[in-house]
């Protein structure tokens, strides 16, 4: 696919866009976009607003806006539900998991982008296949392998597993990037006697920085939002990530509804803020990963 967010953003679209349109066309356009936005976002916005409500208001369901306005929910989320512990776990998983995936993928992407050797195409196809299959089908054997390795219900195990889970996506995007990059600089470095890893880290890595940043953001958000394998591979409360905590919140509704709702809001806001700040990276990373 040739489409890129770059061209989408820089105003090269061919569609006759600037021309004047009749008023009814605008009514139609904004009516349609407004309706879709409303349907897509109302429940989420309503829940986020609810995190500033009292438990009583939430239970009775009276009123869209918080009244009275309170931040007690956020206090409860940290003091009673101990949200910060889950946040810290998730930060560890997402941070180190992303790092692990990035290192493994970068190391594998370079030779598989540059050199021809026996089994190269098979390896690339194999790595790509993992991105095209519903991996939840592998749940039980993944659990079995992780347990046999002594990595069940462990933070280290989760970091390693998430590195593996994000590896195919990271690898594919990085390799595609390297394939499209001219090799002259590396060739020159190698001519001058620079070793493989020196070239890789001194010459290729700096060039690949934009691509690395892009996949890093996406991998981070993916791990942050991961529920299925966390649910499968973790049991202790002290190891749980925020998504497991969210699922647990549902059962908390009975006695600590304000904390649960405020906690859910905090957990959602992390990837939302990341997206708003790094919009270009997120979008181009996701687009790149999809068009396998």
């Amino acid at each position: 696919m040739k489409g890129t967010m770059r061209s989408a953003a820089s105003g090269t679209a061919g569609l006759a866009s600037v021309g004047r349109r009749p008023v009814w066309a605008y009514v139609l356009i904004y009516g349609f976009l407004g309706a879709v936005t409303l349907l897509a976002l109302t429940p989420t916005v309503w829940v986020m607003l609810s995190s500033f409500k009292t438990g009583n208001q939430i239970f009775t369901g009276q009123g869209f806006w918080p009244s009275p306005f309170t931040v007690q929910g956020f206090v409860d989320a940290f003091t009673q539900i101990h949200l910060h512990e889950y946040l810290l776990n998730t930060l560890i998983y997402a941070g180190f998991g992303t790092l692990g995936a990035l290192v493994a993928a970068f190391l594998a992407a370079y030779p598989l982008a540059r050199f021809a050797f026996v089994g190269r195409n098979a390896l690339v196809a194999l790595f790509s296949l993992a991105l095209a299959l519903p991996l939840v089908g592998l749940a039980t054997p993944v659990f079995f392998v992780v347990r046999e390795l002594g990595l069940f219900d462990s933070r280290l195990g989760m970091v390693i597993f998430y590195s593996a889970l994000q590896f195919p996506f990271t690898f594919i995007v990085l390799r595609a990037f390297l394939v499209s990059t001219p090799p002259e600089l590396e060739e020159a470095a190698m001519m001058d006697g620079a070793g493989y890893f020196t070239t890789l880290f001194r010459v290729v890595l700096p060039l690949a920085r934009p691509a690395l940043a892009t996949v890093a953001v996406v991998a981070f958000v993916n791990i942050w939002n991961e529920f299925f394998f966390a649910n499968l591979l973790l049991v202790s409360q002290e190891n749980q990530n925020v998504q497991l905590a969210l699922a647990g919140f549902k059962s908390q509704f009975g006695f600590n509804v304000t904390g649960a709702v405020a906690g859910a809001t905090v957990v959602m806001l992390v990837p939302i803020c990341l997206f708003l700040v790094l919009q270009r990276q997120v979008i181009s990373g996701l687009t790149a990963g999809a068009v396998k």
């Binding site: 040739k2 897509a40 309503w46 493994a104 021809a116 054997p141 001219p182």
Partner: protein, 336 residues
């Protein structure tokens, strides 16, 4: 309509899908090189032999990826294939041939889960993706504020399934949920338990994700941006209206990207678990259960062999649907 030539496909020699797609992807990943020349260099270099004395380092370089991939994808895959034909609960183990599959095809709950999974996939294909395409096409007209709208519409895409489950368990709550408040305010009976009423449950679950269209919108907008403007200029000169331009020029050229969007979404739907597990746990009466949830229940029961037989169906279903969509939308061939 004749196939137009674009700047990126122009300088390329006969089709080499992978590399061509690769160049496009990398450009998407924030690379600014002109695709043409970069492609030609890449073509030459991709065939290079490993330089003298670097075979060792290259092997070392490949190792972490191969180990991660082998341990967590390849080994589990072979375990799955083998134990799908066994009774296995971790310790006990016995080959039982096709018994797992026989049991599966005799179980009405399996068919329910299978049907629901297809139902969710259909909801994505026939509601979510078309809606996303429509919004993408409208936003590509660049009405005032399109950037902001694109951002806002994309936000739900970065919210996790678990968070969505929390949001919608509140939204659908029969007593305090927003939906029943609105329904009640409209003068209709506002006491329905949407998620736990067998007539509405599946639709209520589908309604949580069909509006997560940001990803489709972004894909579509990117593809539209790559359509050469001459096409539209020529059409305008010939007196084509905006509507005609959208339906006669843009839409046909989106075939490939629509297929891609469906692929990505099908992958999610076939493995759908988080939302259903947290929202309804598959209830009421398995009306919302999915294959992934059905397999997970078997796993919880210690019936690992059976869970893996179901897992093999999930993987096979994924493969079949993906191959079909690629065929139908001719992905891999060029749209332009």
């Amino acid at each position: 309509m004749s196939a137009p030539t674009t700047s990126t496909s122009g300088p390329l020699r006969p089709p080499d899908d992978e590399r061509r797609a690769a160049a496009g992807r990398a450009a998407g990943a924030g690379k600014a090189t002109a695709a043409g020349p970069a492609n030609r260099t890449a073509r030459r270099v991709v065939g290079t032999k490993i330089p003298r004395g670097m075979r060792g380092p290259v092997a070392v370089s490949l190792l972490p990826g191969i180990i991660l991939f082998g341990t967590f994808f390849l080994v589990p895959f072979f375990v799955l294939v083998a134990t799908a034909f066994a009774r296995w609960g971790g310790l006990d183990f016995a080959w039982i041939g096709l018994d797992n599959y026989r049991r599966m095809f005799d179980d009405p709950v399996f068919y329910k889960a299978f049907g629901n999974t297809l139902f969710y996939a259909a909801a994505s294909m026939f509601i979510q993706v078309p809606l996303g395409v429509a919004v993408g096409m409208v936003l590509a007209l660049r009405p005032r504020g399109w950037r902001t709208l694109r951002t806002i519409i994309f936000v739900p895409f970065v919210i996790s399934g678990a968070a969505y489950a929390v949001i919608f368990s509140m939204f659908y709550n029969p007593r305090s949920g927003l939906l029943n408040n609105v329904v009640g305010a409209l003068g209709l009976p506002g006491d329905r338990d949407w998620l736990f009423d067998t007539t509405t449950a599946r639709w209520a679950v589908a309604a949580t994700f069909v509006f997560i269209i940001g990803f489709v919108v972004v894909l579509v907008m990117a593809e539209i941006a790559s359509i050469p403007s001459e096409l539209y200029e020529a059409a305008s000169v010939d007196g084509a209206t905006t509507w005609q331009q959208l339906t006669r020029i843009t839409l046909p050229l989106l075939r490939n990207v629509i297929g891609t969007a469906i692929l990505v979404r099908l992958l999610v739907d076939i493995g759908m678990f988080d939302l259903v597990f947290i929202l309804t746990a598959g209830g009421p009466d398995d009306a919302t259960a999915t294959l992934a949830l059905y397999a997970y229940r078997a796993y919880l029961n210690g019936e690992w062999g059976y869970a893996n037989a179901v897992g093999s169906v999930i993987l096979a279903l994924g493969l079949v649907l993906i191959v079909t969509v690629r065929r139908v939308f001719r992905i891999g061939e060029r749209a332009l």
